[in-house]
Symmetry: C2
Subunit: 353 residues, 2 copies
Amino acid sequence: MARGGATTRVLRADEIAQIIRVRGLDAIFDELIERLTNALAVYEASKVLTPARDGFHYELPTPGLLEWMPAMEVGRVVAIKTVGYHPANPVERGLPTVLSSTSLYDPATGRLLALLDSTLLTALRTGAASAVATDILATPGPVVVGLVGCGAQAVTQLHGIARVRPVERVIVADADAMVAASFARRTWFVDRPIEIVPPGQRARLLGAVDVLCTATSVEVGAGPVIEDGEHAAWLHINAIGSDFHGKQELPVSLLERSLICPDLVAQCLVEGESQRACLDRLGPDLATLVQQRARFEAFRSDLTVFDSTGWALEDMVVAEMMLDHAAGLGLGITIELQRTTSDPRDPYSTLLA
Amino acid sequence: MARGGATTRVLRADEIAQIIRVRGLDAIFDELIERLTNALAVYEASKVLTPARDGFHYELPTPGLLEWMPAMEVGRVVAIKTVGYHPANPVERGLPTVLSSTSLYDPATGRLLALLDSTLLTALRTGAASAVATDILATPGPVVVGLVGCGAQAVTQLHGIARVRPVERVIVADADAMVAASFARRTWFVDRPIEIVPPGQRARLLGAVDVLCTATSVEVGAGPVIEDGEHAAWLHINAIGSDFHGKQELPVSLLERSLICPDLVAQCLVEGESQRACLDRLGPDLATLVQQRARFEAFRSDLTVFDSTGWALEDMVVAEMMLDHAAGLGLGITIELQRTTSDPRDPYSTLLA
């Protein structure tokens, strides 16, 4: 990335959409899975720092969460994603539940190098992370996919799974029948029938699928979103949604017989399914899964859970990938946000027109 | 601030400079002091949340610090300033040591409302905070001002003091003789002689001034930047620079006989002069100073220290003030960073051109 001058590259939602239209949605998804896999394969905690995310969690003016997720590849780049989680957005304001942007900084100077809308990118990278975990842990061959929660994140979850396994059939459930009904239209990229399970019969979903994904906005104390019961021995679950302290999408009894793979252990213990797991049941984190792939592919015949809370590393990977494509396609705008003048010791020198 | 649509207001360095040129530098400074005073007068920790700032502190590719400073006025707005501190910037890259930008978010939706360059604004708000403290704690009437460290922050320190006290004379010292020599040119707004004290004779500075400001980049372990000695009984000191864990600009013996006023106690205990103070010597914080002004004006005849580490509240105040002026003057640009489409549950709906 060019570091000259004092300019900031900006990638707006429209330009990110254009990149994806030009390159192709499946190709972008596959490239993201590959780039994320490569980043995980060489990941070392001492070289890519991702301190615990923090945020404001509030009830006013509406229940919501605004978090900052910093990451630094030592000596090369700092990325800070800010992400809002406001479950009332779709119904009350016609906005996505998750709205996000990412800023990249030059650690040599502190300059703001780039700003990207990350609303779609957050959905994509969350889907790509599930694809990486599913590819290693799910049963090989065609799979029946179940989804509990059919919102925006479920779209890229299904897409991610479909990039690493042939999808035979899809079964979905959502507390809102209208949301479930629109899921097929929103997942045109998977040319398979989508069966909707009414909320009351959600229990039979577990027994019917090879890969399950929970991507709900379930409130703290209201979970789990699916009951424990009979299921295929090789069931793989991606638990995505509702990452709050106290969050619970899966029954504890199910976690207790699973190999649980957190994306980032420290974070999952605070806001993931791992909160409810015995520490000795926690398996490899996402980077270890990739780095010791053959070892953990042996668990494809067992019950496995990917505990996805969303990791700042993933945000850095997708942001840089999009900036690369923008550079290649000549997309994005440049703003002189931090133009400085000849005298760095005179803050008022910028006042001389 | 307008919250419609999905647009983000952007204020670039040039536009901030234009606002200040149009409104007048002194008028802007005075308004900032007034707005900050008003914000401090009504400040309650339960209504304006400013969690401890955090950051990356590194040696590669160059020694530096990149921090995020979040603030939320509950129910109204979230502001996150990111600020880089890279002491090699001026000499090696012709850039300011401190480079910064601020993002404002709508807590109702998580949307990014505004992005501002905050390089000049950081210098201004730091000067304004010192002005507030100096106005309450320094001896009334004309003052002789001393400055140790003559970089960018010293410019707005002197300016802030000059807005609340007539300045009779200025005495400065800097480890770099060239930086000291250029200080008079950079502080044209104070029409007073500037006397330069050579580094070796820095000790006599303390005894010659009524208000002292330390705004250095002194490294951890290399302080203090001034020796203890004779001084006016009413000396007021603003300790500004080098906010690292282990930072020391002032001699401990001097702190031990001062009333120490931290801007934010928790932060100053980690990275301010307060680190070296006995807890029972810590006086009121900046908000308490303002809220109990008459009580603390009684200390004008005593030795007082304002321990300024920089507070996210100050950043929120200056950012909103500039956005107000930009709106009034029709300045700034609007970018459709987070344009969303008709279906908030379909991340791919943005792909439909």
